[in-house]
Symmetry: C3
Subunit: 345 residues, 3 copies
């Protein structure tokens, strides 16, 4: 009998242009939302309150945008990153439609780039992934590239194709949720008075608070998204028994911490770039800061977009310090995430 | 640019009579209920079963009363206790309407007392807090007083106002949920045969079981209520890496443990007083006991009220032993909570 | 006053034929499902996706079968196993109807066997337990036997009655969910291509992945089922502070791990036998393997049944090695579970 378990794909198993339909569609509910609030200090009012969301023109509170991201990402792991050495980057991410309790999400990815490493033992795979809801509408798409092991060093190298990726999503291509209207936005209920116009390019915001991570928390979060990458769950992989924390856990933690100073950055609409600069482990205390990179007018009543660099760092890091003299990320840096958010004018 | 993060209010920032509308309304669902059952050994049938609740006249199982309390309390933290030195007490708490899955809660507080400490560096703030649902109806109100730091020792002391608080909520002012009817109460399904009339004033009940607390559990619980007090989450605050546990976590733990002996104390309707006698940390094993303080007839079919002192203690404490010869709480005592509960006659 | 707390039943308190109605009916929701996915690496598509379930003829995704099992089992603990020395076995288990979000479950047990041990200090109690939904329909029944302490060694031994139990549920008595239809089954969305016919009797499947268990996780899981057995929660019971893990936690963990190789074993319909071979503690890394014991045709469109032996072992165990030369379970073995599952043809 051939083995029935999934050994994952290796670098030589990918072909340019092929489309992979990922398995296990997933219905989300108020349960996933409650867990999200228990696992991260998430407080944005639009995702916390049906009433607040209705006052902003939506039918009810959407799921946190990162629930959408993690659910879709988790679907791709068995096909894309089971044999990954490193998750290298994100680009051209757009949130195209909110996800609501009761929605069912699927995911598919197209291979858009392949580049074997010079050592011949691994290569970089670029995929464009789409999350699709039960109506067949895309809720999120983004490009991700990962370094994947080869199964056989003798497998021939494919033709190198490196996609031409935009350094940032053009603001006029961001998708604004239908009916969203911030003209009557209640800053008091949202928790902070700062409007879109109050943020200046170059401004750096210290989000102040820190969270010390426990093994049980990051494993529950990662499992919830049906992410099966074994390094997150199996303590026998390392001598110290610690498990490597899913990079997305750090993204959600940092985004939730950023409420303090960015309470009105209610929705993530674009994902421009992202790097998991250093590994994160249980026991680390995570802090976050944000740099305002850009501002853009958008076609939505009462709303504007900010391009933000969200940085997560371990305790000991310095707000505003990202790279050393050698241009490399400082050892305290965990995450460097570049995204577009919607704020009230 | 002025800092965009919330530094919290200091003692000199409060004015007698001012009303603070707290931010971030919150919609609760079956997700919060499931997590409550996972985080605490909660077993009261009225909150566990839609069918049991319907047999008691309600439309469905209400959320646990303490979910209401924690959600409302959590909303107040950024405005009331971010710079608190100590949470000193509760009084005049009444649960006025059940909360159901799908409800959205807001909170507001009025400052009803101010008293600067003689050292000039802190003061006591008294607030009356209301939780309000999406229909604008009050679901809970209570008085809380906290000791809050002054930002500047030079800030002038306000006129001292200490509110005149009732030692206990008068039983004829307790609010009984509409339609509640315990006349056909099923003691078998509820788990214990003891009726209201079976409890005697002065009786002490040992709830027997103990729960050893993990960091991940109390952090998830506290985050779920969007309680942002950093001492609960940031392990770098103390050399031993432990985080101070939210007092409300101990309240819920003790209340859930009290099922064993008080399975029919189905609803909390009044909160007379409460003291967090000593800090609680992960690794502590919590046990609980109850003293019956009073009994009262109430205007509800088949139901009576008991006034109960619920005590939580660390392992090593003695059931019934609360204070030492000096009148102070014994070092093993974590919580001394005085509340009214409804039981079937 | 007599003590109001439940000391649990002792061996001499059971009578052949008596029926015990267990307390605390429980309504389950999407919250319990979300937590199940956060606590176990559960990925079977039928329980993950309303859309996938509809394509298989069901109205929506049912709750995981083991949620039903744990909820019913948890109800029985205060009456059956509070004074248990050991949980000895399961037999004749049949899942008779799916459980859906919103359902309310009750449980009752009939005593069908009693056998005092030769030491006179304990005895074995056999019960047949039924889980019943709000419509009064049985959703699950199974036989369990436990060794229970005697309260008084002097209590007379009852007449020995040992029920005649089937070694396995006969496949023609398995209950197939109404409307289930696997004729249009989507193997791509389910995650693996292996059909019922691809599995051979005697085949052994290594499920590969391991999960290192944390205290917070098994306690949250066990509490969620309102299982009150104190050994799972109270760290003062043992010098090392560890808590004995609920055997059902290992069942769910192993079943979820078995997705890798058995992704299409979508539903558990029969529970033939089960043994918790050795205790499990936090820090253990759990792996799983399955032996195909039997295959059976069943009367359901497009579906067949496999009888599977699911084995959980601690790190260090060997796939396929179950018992030593003495016929006893090897020390690494945690669980030996024999069940029937439905797969697409």
């Amino acid at each position: 009998m051939p083995a029935k378990t999934n050994a994952g794909r290796f670098f030589e198993d990918y072909r340019i242009g092929e489309v992979i339909d990922h398995a296990i569609p997933r219905t989300v509910s108020g349960g996933e939302r409650a867990l999200y609030h228990a696992l991260y200090p998430a407080r944005h009012a639009l995702q916390s309150s049906d009433e607040f969301a209705r006052a902003c023109g939506l039918a009810a509170a959407p799921m946190d945008d990162l629930i959408t991201f993690h659910t879709v990402f988790g679907k791709t792991v068995p096909d894309i990153s089971l044999n990954a050495v490193a998750n290298l980057g994100y680009a051209e991410g757009r949130f195209r439609e909110p996800v609501w309790p009761g929605d069912t999400l699927r995911a598919r990815s197209q291979v858009i780039g392949l580049k074997q490493n010079s050592n011949g033992r691994s290569g970089v795979v670029y995929v464009r992934t789409e999350g699709v809801n039960q109506h067949g509408r895309v809720v999120l798409d983004y490009v991700r590239w990962v370094m994947v092991k080869k199964h056989s060093a003798d497998a021939p190298a494919p033709d190198t194709v490196v996609p031409d990726l935009m350094p940032a999503v053009a603001p006029d291509t961001l998708v604004i949720p239908k009916c969203l209207d911030f003209k009557g936005y209640d800053f008091g209920l949202a928790g902070e008075p700062h409007r879109w116009g109050d943020y200046e390019i170059g401004e750096i915001i210290d989000h102040v608070d820190g969270v010390t991570i426990e093994e049980a928390e990051h494993m529950m979060a990662t499992r919830m998204w049906q992410n099966t990458s074994k390094v997150h769950f199996d303590g026998t992989n390392r001598e110290d028994g610690r498990r490597l924390i899913y990079g997305g856990h750090v993204i959600s933690l940092a985004r939730a911490l950023s409420f303090n100073g960015l309470a009105n950055a209610q929705m993530i609409v674009g994902l421009n770039a992202g790097a998991h600069a250093n590994p994160c482990f249980a026991g680390d205390t995570v802090r976050a800061w944000t740099e305002v990179l850009d501002r853009a007018d958008i076609d939505a009543p009462g709303a504007g977009a900010l391009r933000l660099r969200l940085v997560a760092m371990k305790d000991g890091g310095t707000v505003g310090a990202l790279r050393g003299g050698d241009g490399k990320y400082l050892p305290d840096i965990l995450l460097d995430l570049d995204y577009w958010a919607l704020l009230p004018l």
